[in-house]
Amino acid sequence: MEKSEVRSIYLLAGFLVFAYALPFAVGVWTDSIFYDRQWLADLATVALSGLMQGGVYAMFAVGLTLIFGVMRVINVAHGELVVLGAYLTWVMFNMPEWLGIDVYVDPLLSMVVSLPLAFLLGYGIQKLLLNAVVGGPELTPLLITFGIGISLVNIVEWIFTTDYHTIPYEPDAIHLTASIAVGKNKVISFGMAFLISMSVYIFLKVARLGKAIRATAQNADVAMVCGINIYSIYMITFGLGAALAAAGGTLVSIQFGFNPETGLQYTVVAFAIIILGGRGNFIGALIGALMLGVIENLIAFMVPNGSAMVEIAAYGLMICTLLIRPRGLMGAKEG
C-alpha cells in the first residue's frame, strides 16, 4: 500500500473515533451523563438497539452497493424502493381485514410476495429505462433514477395519502439482564437482516450466477468475452437490489412509522453507509450500516433533543469520508 493510502485510512479511523466520542463529549458538557449503573445499562441498551437498527440499514445499503458495484449506477430512488416495500407489507398485513377474512398475516411472511414483486420492478426498470444508458456518462442514469424516485413518491402518495402508517409487531422487550432490554421486533428484524445479507453474500460467492455478477462488477468487457450477457446481469442485479430494498422496507415497517416521503431519509442513510464502507463493497456496506446505526442511537441518547440531530450523523459521516478517504473503508481504488 502506498503511504498516502495508509495515511488516509488512519485519518478515517481517527475521524470515526472522534465521531463516536463527540456525543459523549456533548453528554458531559450538558451534564446528561451519570456514572451510575442505571445510566450504563441504558447506554448498553442504546448501543444494542443501534446495532439492531444497523442491521436493517444493512439491508438497503447492501442493495445499493450491489447496484453501484456492478453498473456504476447511483440509484437515487433506493429509499423510495424501501418505502414501497414497507407499503407492500402494510397492504398485505391489512388485506385480510379489508376483505373481512379472519387470518393473521405475519408481516415478515409478506416478503414472500413483496420481494419477488420488487425484483420484477427493479428488473423492469433496468430493462426499460437504464440498460440503454449504462456505460455512458454517469449523470444520465442518476437523473433517470431521480425521476423514478419522484414518480414513486407521487404514486404512493396518490394511492395511500401522506398519512403515517405503522405495523404493530411483537411489542415485548427481550431482557438480557434486569436492566438491559431491547425490543423483540428489533431483534427479529436484525436476525432477518442478518439471514438475508448472509444468503446474498453466499450466493455471490458460490453460485454460478453470483460469480457472473461479481465478474461483471470487476470487468464488464472481459465478462462479455467469457460469454456473460452483461445486460441480463444488469437486470438481475437491479432486481436483486430492489428486492433487498423492499426487504429493508418490511423491517422498517415493523418498527418505525413511514409515509411516502420517508424514502429520502433512507436514500441518504444508504448513501452514507456505502460511502463510508466503500462503494461497491459488500462487507463494507455491512460494517458501515452497523456503525451508522450505533452512532445515530448514541446521538439520540446523549445529545439533548438529540433525535433532531440524528440525521446529521449520516450527512456528516458521508461528507467527511468523501473528504478524507473517498474510497471509504474497504472500497476499491478508482481508475
Binding site: 454460478r208 460469480k211 462479455m224 468475452v225 467469457c226 460469454g227
Partner: protein, 237 residues
Amino acid sequence: MAALLEIKNVDAGYGNIQILHQVSLHVKEKEVVCVVGPNGAGKSTAFKVIMGFINHMGGDILFDGKNIIGQRPDQILARGLGYVPQGRIVFNQMTVRENLDIGAYVERDKRKRLQSMEYVFELFPRLAERQKQMAGTMSGGEQQMLAMGRALMTRPRMMMLDEPSLGLSPRFVTEIFEKIVNLAREGLTIILVEQNAARALEISHRGYVLELGRNRFAGSGEELLNNEEVRRMYLGG
C-alpha cells in the same frame, strides 16, 4: 478454402471518431496470422470491432461465413471465436479456478467445463499448481497464461490474441510463444497482434501491417520478414 474469419473494407471507431478505414483481412482455418504495426495503428480496435465491442461504421465481418455484425461479444464467443484482450486482464478477486470456470460461462454442462479445465491445466501446468490462488496475486506472465486459459475454456475454433507477450519477462515471452505454437499445432486458428513483430512473424503463416488505421502491407510471414520497408520500420533494421 473459404476463410474462417474475414473482414472486408471495415470502417470503425469510438463514438464519431473513425479509427479504421477500409481495413480488410482474413484468416483461414488452422492458419496463424499476425497483425503488426506501430502503436495506435488500430490493431486492438480491429479486434474490438470484430468482437462487437465498438461502433461498426461500414464493411463486412464474417465468421464461418456468417455475418456477425451487431452481435454482442458473448454471442460471438458462443459461435466459437475466443478473444484475449490486451493487458492480461483477469478477475483479480477470484481464484485461478474461478477465473477458468467463468471463462466457460456459456457452457451449462458442468462435466464439460471440468473437461475443459483439465485440458487447460495440461496446457498450462503452472495454472494447475495455483488453482486456489487469487488471480490478482500472480505474476504478469501467469496472469497472461490465465487469460489465455480462460479464453480456451469454451474450446473455441479460433482465437484472437492481443499483444500476448506485452510487458512480460523474456522467459515468459518464450513460454507464451511456445504455447501459441502448440495450440496452432493442435489445429486452433489464431490471429495475434504483436509488438514483438519478428518473433511473431516467424511463427505465422501470414501477416498484415496496419498503419494509421489502414492496411499497409500483407504477405506471408517470410515475405514480410524479408521486406525492406517492413524490416526498416518494424523489425529494427
